[in-house]
């Protein structure tokens, strides 16, 4: 009878185990590549700010000098655009969703002291190089000006 169409299925279901898992008593199973949250290998970060500019939510901030990178976990929509844009590939999308909470979700990652020291030395070296390059350029310009001057006088004499 069509009135009891679903009755056999319903009866069968009575004796089947539940399809749901008893989270949090059982661990949640994530498939490979699940978009949970963003992790950073902070020592590889060069502080270029590409991730900050690409993030559609404006949740990231980076301070190159201080060597910090911060994210507000509750603002992040786990779109993965920053991972795609990072030139050093130091951002990764890993499994595990952000758990709810009453406090702000802002997390700041700071580089290790060794890496900060390395960065500082690199910056100084770069500054030295830049200064040297500037000096060389100034010298060159002065020499060029010197060579130009007589030719200028010659031209005036010809006239």
């Amino acid at each position: 009878m069509s009135i009891l169409k679903y009755a056999p299925e319903a009866l069968k279901n009575l004796f089947k185990p539940p399809v749901t898992t008893k989270y949090p008593f059982e661990p949640a199973v994530y498939p490979e590549g699940a978009r949970g949250h963003i992790e950073i290998t902070i020592d590889d970060c060069i502080g270029c700010g590409m991730c900050v500019r690409s993030c559609p939510c404006g949740t990231l901030s980076v301070d190159k000098m201080a060597g910090t990178w911060s994210i507000d976990r509750f603002d992040c929509i786990a779109c993965g655009y920053c991972v795609e844009k990072c030139p050093k590939k130091c951002l990764t999308m890993v499994e595990g969703y952000q758990t709810p909470g009453a406090k702000e979700g802002k997390v700041t990652y700071t580089k290790s002291p060794e890496q900060l020291e390395k960065d500082r030395i690199a910056r100084e070296e770069q500054a030295k190089k830049a200064a040297a390059a500037r000096e060389a350029a100034a010298k060159k310009a002065a020499e060029a000006a010197k060579q130009q001057q007589p030719s200028g006088l010659e031209q005036a004499a010809k006239k």
Binding site: I3, K5, P31, A34, S54, P56, C79, Y81
Partner: protein, 360 residues
């Protein structure tokens, strides 16, 4: 003529998944007029084009709706691709089709569950959602997100579905089909379900046409409309016919949606069978967009229209979405006339309202 009074329906109501408010003018137990008002969850996503560049907008557009999120992203990207004049690699088109159809399946299964809940069939409700869970698992496995995929990109897609995963999808489709057959028989043949749905809320073909209804709502009234036939993504290569029904009542709408799930299963199988082996997943786009385009996409709820306008800047000038529920609201109000007050909850459900989309 009896005394008229007004009963407010919504925005909070047990059958409503999302907030819509309808003022029901009733005479005794009969509804004589329905006046809708929306605007409870307006988020102003469209105006974000001023502040987010066209690539970031992909992620914003996707979040217009939690249910047809992939199709929103796809519609926007296809529109942008036309503005840029780039051709999407064939594999990306097929992947988009597979994801879009998975999205349609889970959306219709969700709706079937809500419908069953609407007429008080709790057991059936949970069965539908149990089957839907399998589809959600497929989505999570392939894209990393259960509902919001974030795999679209202007120019193609950013993720591939490997051969093994395609095989798992095929296997799951077989399981889903089997379980769905039982559910289908219950929905279409059970006496108690029929008595709640048949002959309730009839919209004739003329009415549906005049009021500009879209999607399964229009197809249930006998209008042969399906934007997939316009040939975006890989649909031109696939063999399918829009599912239509002639009666235009709630039962017809239920029938159309159930059969569309089977159609989606079929389309996924066809797409997996034909998917080309390429490594290219997207065509790089260069420069800034310049031009405008109207893109029409068939979402689970019907036709969605995306309008983009750009003038050579990183940010778009204008972006607009016309969502299917927006088109179906006039039809709903017409349908509610001359129905019993007790049927209103169910009838509102039968258009599959998605208010978040409508208000953006």
């Amino acid at each position: 003529m009896g005394k008229r009074s007004v009963i407010p329906f919504g925005p909070q109501h047990p059958v409503l998944p999302e907030p819509i408010h309808i003022d029901l003018v009733i005479e005794d137990e009969k509804v004589v007029e329905a006046i809708p008002s929306v605007g409870f969850i307006h988020r102003g996503l469209e105006s974000l084009v001023d502040k987010r560049d066209y690539n970031q907008m992909t992620y914003v557009v996707e979040r217009t709706c939690g249910i047809c999120s992939f199709q929103h992203g796809m519609g926007y990207c296809e529109a942008m691709e036309h503005v840029f004049g780039v051709d999407v690699p064939a594999r990306a088109k097929y992947l988009r089709t597979i994801w879009a159809e998975l999205g349609r399946m889970h959306s219709h299964l969700l709706w079937l569950g809500l419908l069953a809940d609407g007429f008080g069939y709790e057991n059936l409700f949970y069965q539908c959602w149990r089957v839907r869970e399998k589809v959600l698992d497929m989505q999570e496995m392939t894209s990393g997100g259960r509902l919001i995929f974030s795999v679209n990109k202007v120019g193609g897609v950013i993720k591939d579905i490997e051969k093994e995963k395609l095989d798992i999808i095929l296997k799951t489709m077989d399981e889903v089909e089997e379980e769905l057959t039982v559910i289908k028989d219950t929905f279409l043949l059970d006496y108690s379900v029929q008595s709640r749905l048949q002959g309730v809320g009839i919209v004739t073909k003329e009415q549906a046409h005049d009021l500009g209804c879209a999607g399964p709502f229009a197809r249930a009234s006998g209008i042969r409309t399906d934007m997939r036939k316009l040939g975006y993504a890989a649909y031109p290569d696939l063999d399918f016919e829009p599912i239509i029904s002639a009666t235009g009542d709630s039962y017809a709408r239920c029938y159309c949606r159930i059969m569309e799930i089977f159609q989606s299963i079929d389309l996924i199988r066809q797409a997996i069978g034909k998917i080309p082996n390429e490594t290219d997943l997207f065509t790089p786009v260069k420069g800034n967009p310049d031009g405008e385009y109207f893109m029409r996409v068939e979402q689970p709820r019907g036709e969605a229209v995306y309008y983009v306008k750009a003038s050579g800047k990183q940010y778009l000038d204008r972006f607009r979405v016309r969502t299917p529920t927006f088109a179906n609201l006039p039809g709903l109000c017409e349908m509610l006339k001359n129905t019993q007050l007790s049927d209103v909850g169910l009838l509102v459900l039968t258009i599959d309202p998605c208010i978040s989309c409508t208000e953006r």
